[in-house]
């Protein structure tokens, strides 16, 4: 069931196009990761979906409602954590969440219960009576998170929910997202690429306002040059003859020598969609090369990310000159 559908969304500020014809949709149960360099238009897209900004052109539909005709109905179905998790600094988390609960239409016992649950889910028990402005960055972020999930929304949109958190807090937030994922449609923006594998079922890459990739995290990895490549370390250097034997294996695209922290290692690249782990291991065994370490790589996300986002910049520069 499609919960969020965005088609041909554009946003222009003066002459500057920030979001340039983006289309995608998110189904129930999906966690969509929004990737892209800073200033790529991720936050602007989120602001248009949540009704904070009006698009220059294009359509946004959430839960079958159109943002132009039913903004208030849409806002009821969305839980939104804006960038930087803004909150009223002189309120305490408790009074802040009560305020949010009242705006969300809860009264009396139901309100208290919703607030309690949000506090529990975001692990805020220890700070509920301290002014928000005195809290650490991690707690502030969690106050924002509690505010977003308070009404158990079918659609959850979070702009960099783990930014500024320590590794333990990041882990907690990811667990929380995974826990909620099955019956919600979730959009998460991040520039931490490991997060994509940890929490997302699908990823989108945006750069300069354009959508450059839409697929699963595995598909993203398979675009890497390092996809299915093998890293091998030997106690002696391989002869040129031996390297030729490796290169001659079916499926091997190239062999490169790398030096990592002073240790020499060979990276054997595979041709697209070819597995080379087994034939290579067999070869090493047959030749009895003195092997120390051997592992297969799934792909480097940061390399794919860099290539996808800079290629588009190159294309643009080319078009301009």
């Amino acid at each position: 069931m499609t919960m969020i559908s965005v088609s041909n969304l554009r946003k222009q500020f003066d002459q500057f196009t920030v979001v340039d014809g983006i289309s995608f949709s998110v189904k129930k149960g999906e966690v969509l990761g929004f990737l892209g360099p800073n200033g790529a238009g991720k936050s602007t897209t989120m602001k248009m979906i949540t009704g904070f900004l009006a698009p220059t052109s294009g359509e946004v539909e959430v839960c079958g409602l159109n943002i132009d005709s039913d903004p208030l109905a849409i806002k009821k179905t969305i839980g939104y954590l804006p960038e930087g998790a803004p909150a009223y600094g002189d309120m305490t988390p408790l009074s802040f969440l009560h305020f949010i609960a009242e705006i969300r239409g809860y009264r009396g016992a139901e309100k208290a219960q919703k607030v309690d649950l949000a506090i529990k889910k975001a692990n805020l028990e220890s700070v509920i009576h301290k002014p928000i402005e005195n809290l650490s960055k991690g707690f502030k972020r969690r106050v924002g998170l509690a505010q977003a999930i308070l009404h158990d929304p079918p659609v959850l949109i979070m702009d960099e929910p783990t930014d500024g958190l320590d590794p333990n807090q990041k882990h907690e937030v990811r667990e929380l997202i995974a826990e909620m994922a099955k019956d919600k449609a979730i959009i998460v923006s991040t520039h931490i690429l490991e997060e994509v594998h940890a929490i997302c079922t699908r990823a989108i890459i945006i750069a300069q306002g354009k959508l450059l990739f839409d697929g699963t995290p595995d598909e993203l990895e398979s675009r890497s040059r390092y996809h299915n490549s093998v890293v091998a370390r030997f106690s002696t250097e391989l002869s040129k003859d031996a390297l030729d034997k490796v290169k001659a294996l079916p499926g091997v695209a190239a062999v490169e020598k790398e030096s990592l922290d002073g240790v020499e290692q060979y990276v054997v690249f595979a041709k697209p969609d070819k597995g080379i782990a087994e034939p290579l291991a067999q070869l090493i065994k047959d030749e009895a090369w003195p092997m120390d370490e051997y592992f297969v790589q799934k792909g480097h996300l940061d390399e794919v990310f860099r290539r996808i986002t800079t290629e588009s910049a190159d294309v643009r520069r080319g078009a301009l000159s």
Binding site: K47, T50, G51, F52, L53, L72, A73, K75, K76, I78, Y80, P82, E83, G84, P86, A87, Y88, G89, D90, M91, S95, F99, I100, E102, I103, R104, G105, Q147
Partner: protein, 244 residues
């Protein structure tokens, strides 16, 4: 319109969660005292009325009300909470009205705390209590008009100092709209009709006619519709400017 109440409550409690409320109330009460007893010559006049007290209200409000209203929207924009507020299921009108009523209710409290003055004058003599009641009403309405200006101006900037200064200037012009200081600027080139229109916007004229004890419908309508206009502009400005 259900959501005006939660916004109102949050804003109103916010005054007392910070020192703003106490500073404002103490300064307001101290200044009304100073104006009434020293500058107004409350005792020297030996008349049982509160005219010296109310005469200075427009001038007190000129500085105190913009100080109260400058944060209403500028702070939301500065801290980014406007994005939170405007993505909650409330309309901009509800947000504007909730904030405005909270600030207005707060000035109501400040006014109510001057009631000992009313008691004192009743103890000392036999004042016309109807006139005093009318003056309080007029003062409260005028405070609302100042606040509506301040709230609207606060929406155009994320800088509270700018919001304060511009609001003071505009309030000043409206206080004196019926006086030569403002009218001379227009009289050389504008048609008489426009000059009449401008002079009819004068706060002082409307306030002093209410403060005389004449509760004229026209004065009440003036203040209420004046607030309505500025708050309407406020809603439009918030919508236009929220993302900048």
């Amino acid at each position: 319109m259900n959501n005006i109440l939660p916004i109102f409550k949050r804003e109103f409690q916010n005054y007392f969660a910070t020192p703003v409320a106490y500073v404002f109330l103490v300064v307001f009460l101290a200044l009304t005292g100073v104006f009434t007893f020293y500058l107004g010559g409350f005792f020297e006049r030996s008349q049982a009325d509160l005219l010296p007290f109310f005469n200075y209200h427009p001038w007190l409000y000129l500085f105190l009300i913009p100080a109260l209203s400058m944060r209403l929207w500028a702070e939301e924009r500065k801290s980014g909470t406007i994005e939170l507020l405007m993505t909650l299921p409330i309309s901009t009108t509800e947000a504007v009205l909730g904030k405005f009523f909270a600030a207005w209710a707060f000035t109501g409290i400040a006014l109510a705390l001057t009631l000992p003055m009313w008691i004192t004058v009743n103890y000392l003599g036999n004042p016309d209590n109807l006139v005093i009641f009318a003056s309080y009403l007029g003062s409260f309405l005028m405070a609302g008009a100042f606040l509506a200006i301040g709230s609207c101006i606060s929406a155009i900037t994320s800088n509270q100092v700018i919001a304060f200064v511009i609001a003071v200037v505009i309030c000043f012009l409206f206080i004196l709209a019926g006086f030569p200081l403002v009218l001379d600027f227009f009289s050389s080139w504008a048609p008489q009709m426009m000059i009449d229109a401008i002079s009819s916007l004068s706060f002082l004229t409307h306030f002093s006619s209410i403060a005389k004890g004449v509760i004229d419908m026209r004065d009440l309508v003036f203040f209420v519709s004046f607030m309505g206009c500025w708050l309407f502009a406020n809603v439009i400005l918030v919508d236009m400017k929220k993302a900048n």
